[in-house]
């Protein structure tokens, strides 16, 4: 609130606030420390030897066993590299596909006059009421009857048609300045041309935000890949991690290294794309 506080109150606040400010920063600092502990533990344990993880003499810093990385990827009993690759393929294609399919539909619903557009829109809204996780049984049945179990198709395609993402795009396009498109249309572009040459290039921020959110949820999704990935060769990284928890043969340092490797790409995505992410989430209309 300080930032939006009236100028008049500022001086008074300053005099009063020296102590309060320290308290504020202590509180935030302690909370931040608590939030960072799990990250610290992952990387500490990932670079330790097993005795350092489970032993009595617990040290703050590990002995930095960088060899753990190659050991993880060379381990023939665990197809970890394969599952990382699977996750990458699934997350990238899911993101691109969702952006394409949902943005087009969102634009159509927001901008193209058609007399039944309302009905179509309500049909899309209705899907938001049914929790997607609940339909995994019939979805599995459907996908397996298509013969898509253990395939990229099965992992990717059913996830592309998100009613929620389409809804977000529609809301966004409703707020897109109409004048720009109209000018383009007067100049002779059809809807399709106006969309690709005017609307998309001017909406890259929003696309980036949705892309980040979609990528993260695709990378982190668990239930659907668990249902679809029957064969280890089609496991995503989350399924591989989960199998470590029940598999007794894998060592602690490898489990933690695998966890670290699985979250590192996202942490980078997060830190670099944060601006869009925060903007996007604040803008997307989730905020009520």
């Amino acid at each position: 609130m300080t930032s939006t506080a009236p100028q008049v109150g500022k001086q008074r606040r300053k005099n009063r606030g020296a102590l309060g400010n320290t308290g504020l920063y202590v509180a935030v600092g302690v909370a931040a420390l608590l939030f960072l502990i799990p990250f610290y533990l992952i990387f500490r344990n990932a670079l330790s030897t097993d005795p350092e993880i489970t032993g009595e003499n617990w040290k703050l810093l590990p002995s930095f066993q960088w060899g753990n990385i190659s050991e993880l990827f060379d381990d023939p009993t665990v197809e970890f590299g394969r599952s990382m690759f699977n996750s990458l393929v699934v997350a990238v294609l899911t993101t691109l596909g969702t952006l394409l399919v949902c943005s087009l539909a969102g634009y159509g619903l927001a901008r193209i006059p058609y007399k039944h557009a309302n009905k179509v829109f309500y049909a899309v809204l209705a899907t938001l009421m049914v929790p997607t996780a609940v339909t995994f049984v019939p979805s599995f049945v459907l996908v397996s009857s298509l013969g898509w179990v253990d395939t990229y198709r099965g992992l990717i395609i059913p996830g592309l048609f998100s009613g929620f993402t389409c809804f977000l795009f529609r809301q966004y396009f409703l707020g897109f300045p109409k004048e720009l498109e109209e000018a383009a249309r007067v100049d002779g572009l059809g809807y399709w041309g106006a969309y690709w040459r005017i609307v998309v290039p001017n909406s890259l921020n929003f696309f980036a935000a949705i892309a980040t959110i979609t990528f993260i949820s695709a990378w982190n999704s668990f239930l659907w890949p668990l249902v679809i990935g029957q064969d280890p060769s089609s496991w995503t990284v989350q399924i591989a991690l989960s199998s470590f928890m029940t598999n007794q043969t894998v060592n602690f340092h490898l489990i933690f290294m695998a966890t670290a490797v699985s979250i590192l790409p996202l942490v980078f995505v997060f830190l670099f794309l944060q601006r869009w992410l925060v903007q996007g989430i604040a803008q997307t209309g989730i905020k009520g």
Partner: protein, 321 residues
């Protein structure tokens, strides 16, 4: 889910076709273009969303073990079976309690963090990032850390190490349902992952509160702190709070990932509704009929909770400002 306060209402704006511009054959035909744009999405939505939902409802009335093309209509047998002969009702009850607990705590923590971060003058972006960062971590990865490092029952677990400093004996957090320490593990994990995301929503809403409101309140003699918070901030956050609580409720009933990985399927406690459905439909019994009946029940329950929440919180009331 609702719309942004400024932008949308739930109605497509029928863009008027400019009268000055001559129609240019197919390119300008709105109906054709509408289907060109929305067609691929609607086709996929029909196949991968509507068909599974319809199939689910249909299967729930048939005897469908080991088969998904059932022939034997059984009416409400599957519903009777899953509500009497399984752990499913227990899991629904457990998760109502879980929701009643996790929703207010996440709400309070994310709002608290947002208020703190919003008051910072230096390093605001840094602290915001720190609290937001766990959103990037999957429930599976977090479950690993929680289960094998923080709350592992032996001495090397962080929690027990800290307790050890105070002379407290090791606690077996996960291997024993009584006392139910496993809830501490699950709830702390969920708070850690979820709060940052909702903090961002609250931050956005806080920054949209007009400063004049606080000035006016100050002139009227409201003391900064609790009074201002109670009478200005909280009411102004009503729309966001409603949305946050709704999202949290739905997420609580759909819990799966961390329970599956921390508690496991073999345990008899803390089984989430989705885990029960997973076991029923994809486990050894392969009972798609009963699984579908359970899915229908769970969907209806989530819708009911959503509508009830709407009734109490005035869902959507904040939209037409």
């Amino acid at each position: 889910m609702s719309t942004t306060t400024t932008r949308g209402v739930a109605q497509p704006a029928p863009a008027k076709v400019s009268k000055t511009r001559p129609r240019r054959g197919l390119r300008g035909n709105p109906t054709l273009n509408f289907w060109l744009f929305t067609g691929p999405f609607l086709f996929g939505l029909a196949i991968f969303v509507f068909v599974p939902i319809g199939w689910s409802v249909w299967l729930s009335f048939f005897d469908a073990r080991y088969t998904v093309t059932p022939s034997h209509f059984t009416g409400f047998e599957n519903y009777k079976q899953i509500l009497t002969n399984s752990e499913f009702p227990d899991s629904l009850l457990t998760f109502t309690v879980f929701a009643a607990f996790i929703v207010p705590t996440t709400w309070a923590l994310s709002l608290g963090l947002a208020l703190l971060v919003n008051r910072l003058r230096f390093m605001r972006a840094f602290f915001r990032s720190v609290f937001f960062l766990p959103t990037a971590v999957s429930y599976v990865a977090a479950a690993l850390i929680w289960k094998m490092s923080i709350f592992s029952g032996v001495r090397f677990g962080l929690a027990n190490t800290v307790l050890g400093w105070f002379g407290v004996d090791n606690i077996a957090y996960l291997s024993n349902p009584s006392p139910p320490w496993y809830w501490l593990v699950i709830v702390s994990l969920r708070l850690w992952i979820q709060s940052g995301f909702y903090m961002i929503l609250f931050l956005a809403a806080l920054q949209n509160i007009p400063a004049e409101l606080y000035e006016a309140a100050a002139i009227d003699g409201a003391k900064p702190g609790w009074q201002t918070f109670r009478h200005i901030t909280l009411p102004q956050l009503r729309a966001t709070s409603t949305a946050v609580i709704l999202l949290l409720l739905v997420a609580a009933y759909q819990a799966f990932d961390e329970f599956f990985n921390i508690v496991g399927q073999k345990a008899t406690w803390a089984q989430t509704p989705l885990m029960e459905l997973y076991k029923t439909a994809l486990g050894t019994s392969q009972d798609y009929g009963a699984g579908s009946a359970g899915a229908v029940i769970l969907s209806l329950l989530i819708c009911l909770v959503t509508l009830l929440q709407g009734k109490f919180m005035g869902f959507g009331r904040g939209e037409d400002k």
